[in-house]
């Protein structure tokens, strides 16, 4: 089940960005995900403002050398993963 392209992903309660040893991390209960490159670009845009479509469009532009379809698939997969871990909500 893919995220609705018009929803505006945001970090779930209890989840926030932090920094550790000079690297950005996504902090959540009993877990921390190190973010860099694409994962960082995605998560920092999960601000309740960017729609999923806008987020994808921005990253396709950022990674202009990559196949746009693959960028879209990778992003949707990653958003779904974070949702399943309850780090992200998709309010419409």
């Amino acid at each position: 089940m893919s995220p609705d392209p018009n929803s505006r992903p945001q970090l779930a309660p209890g989840c926030r960005l932090g920094e550790n040893q000079g690297q950005k991390v996504l902090l959540m209960p009993e877990r921390a995900l190190r973010l860099s490159g694409p994962s960082l670009e995605i998560v920092t845009r999960c601000d309740g403002q960017h729609t999923v479509s806008t987020l994808i469009a921005e990253l396709q532009k950022l990674y202009s050398k990559a196949d746009p379809k693959k960028v879209e698939q990778d992003i949707l997969g990653y958003l779904q993963l974070l949702h399943d871990q309850r780090a992200l909500d998709f309010p419409s």
Partner: protein
């Protein structure tokens, strides 16, 4: 013996007090509880939190006993957040009212982990030795309208394994985004009550099926995690992510331990945060060094392919079950002492509440955890 490059600790477990309004029969606190007068003052905990952050720690668990027994919690939460730590509160939910809850959240609490001793009030009262279930349900209600991470922690054992469905109902009607079904591990008070707590293999298997189904059904809504009693495992758990590799625990009186149970191991010298810096303790404490690396390992661990995966299991459990903290954790199928664990399992008698001739229920002979002086 240190690793060639000692990595930083990732988590700090701050056992703020051993005082607690409950008397749970499975409590993982040591059977020798810390007295109130020996508790570290606020300033000392502030210093510990700041040092932990400087060492690279990312998360702090404010726990106990019952951390809510400490009036300085908001100050500790504010300090932890100012030091860029992620703050978890591991609590029974008492004593708490809405005003105090709002205070803790305003201070910057990230995550509220609420324990449950059962799905039914009678079971909860029996297991915790007090009335607390109704209060926990009230706390759940308050949490619905507050923005904070919420985990429900159901502690599972033979006496409440038949309440899993009801536990999930409680979880689903709350705002919790995470549920942990934690089978009791046998340390501290749980060890003393093991005969009454350890489930049969059949009960365990049934619970695993339940957890897996629940995980699937609630995927995307609630993150369900579970811990199993490792007596039934083929290989031991990588306890604490390895001895003194990722976690520092500070006891109420300021002793630095690699884990909850380490004081059962004879001959270990523990340092105190009032006397040494956290960095020095992490790098050089005799207790922390004792089981780092591989030099201390005995066979079969010493030449086992899994030694970097599970580190030979749990040192405290090896001490408790095999009499030797350097031995292979006897729950391991490769341990020459596995038969001891098999014997414990064989001795389980599936007891249920016995009805006396008058029709009243006879309670098992629990050893209840007291409140320290």
């Amino acid at each position: 013996m240190t690793d060639a490059a000692l990595s930083n600790p990732l988590a700090l477990i701050a056992e703020l007090t051993h005082r607690c309004p409950l008397h749970c029969v499975y409590c993982s606190n040591p059977q020798e509880l810390s007295a109130r007068q020996d508790e570290l003052p606020t300033e000392s905990w502030i210093h510990v939190l700041q040092q932990a952050a400087a060492l690279g720690v990312m998360q702090v668990d404010l726990t106990g006993g019952e951390p809510l027994a400490r009036p300085d919690l908001p100050a500790l939460i504010r300090t932890a957040r100012a030091a860029n730590l992620y703050v978890n509160l591991i609590t029974s939910g008492l004593p708490l009212d809405e005003k105090r809850l709002d205070e803790l959240i305003a201070a910057g609490l990230d995550h509220f982990q609420l324990s449950f001793q059962g799905a039914l009030e009678d079971t909860a009262s029996e297991i915790s030795g007090g009335k607390s279930h109704a209060q926990k349900l009230r706390v759940l209600e308050w949490l619905r309208s507050r923005r904070v991470g919420v985990t429900l922690n159901f502690v599972i054992h033979r006496r409440n394994l038949d309440q899993l469905e009801e536990m999930l109902v409680i979880a689903e009607s709350s705002s919790a985004s995470r549920v942990e079904f934690a089978h009791v591990q046998y340390y501290g008070w749980a060890l003393a009550n093991r005969e009454l707590l350890l489930p049969s293999r059949e009960q365990l298997t049934h619970s695993l099926d339940f957890f897996k189904n629940a995980q699937e059904r609630l995927r995307g809504k609630i993150r369900i995690e579970y811990v199993v009693p490792d007596y039934y495992a083929k290989f031991p758990k990588p306890c604490m992510g390895g001895w003194a590799r990722k976690v520092i625990l500070i006891t109420p009186s300021g002793e630095a331990l690699p884990c909850h149970a380490a004081t059962v191991i004879p001959g270990l010298q523990f340092e105190n945060v009032e006397e040494k810096s956290l960095a020095e303790i992490w790098q050089k404490s005799e207790a922390f060094q004792k089981f780092r690396g591989e030099d201390w390992m005995q066979e079969p661990c010493k030449s086992c392919d899994r030694r970097s995966v599970d580190f030979g299991g749990c040192r405290c459990q090896a001490l408790v079950l095999a009499g030797n903290a350097a031995a292979t954790d006897p729950v391991c199928s490769l341990s020459p002492q596995r038969a001891k664990v098999d014997a414990i399992i064989s001795a389980i008698r599936e007891t249920s509440p016995v009805n006396s001739s008058s029709g009243s229920v006879v309670q098992p002979a629990w050893l209840y955890r007291p409140n320290p002086a």
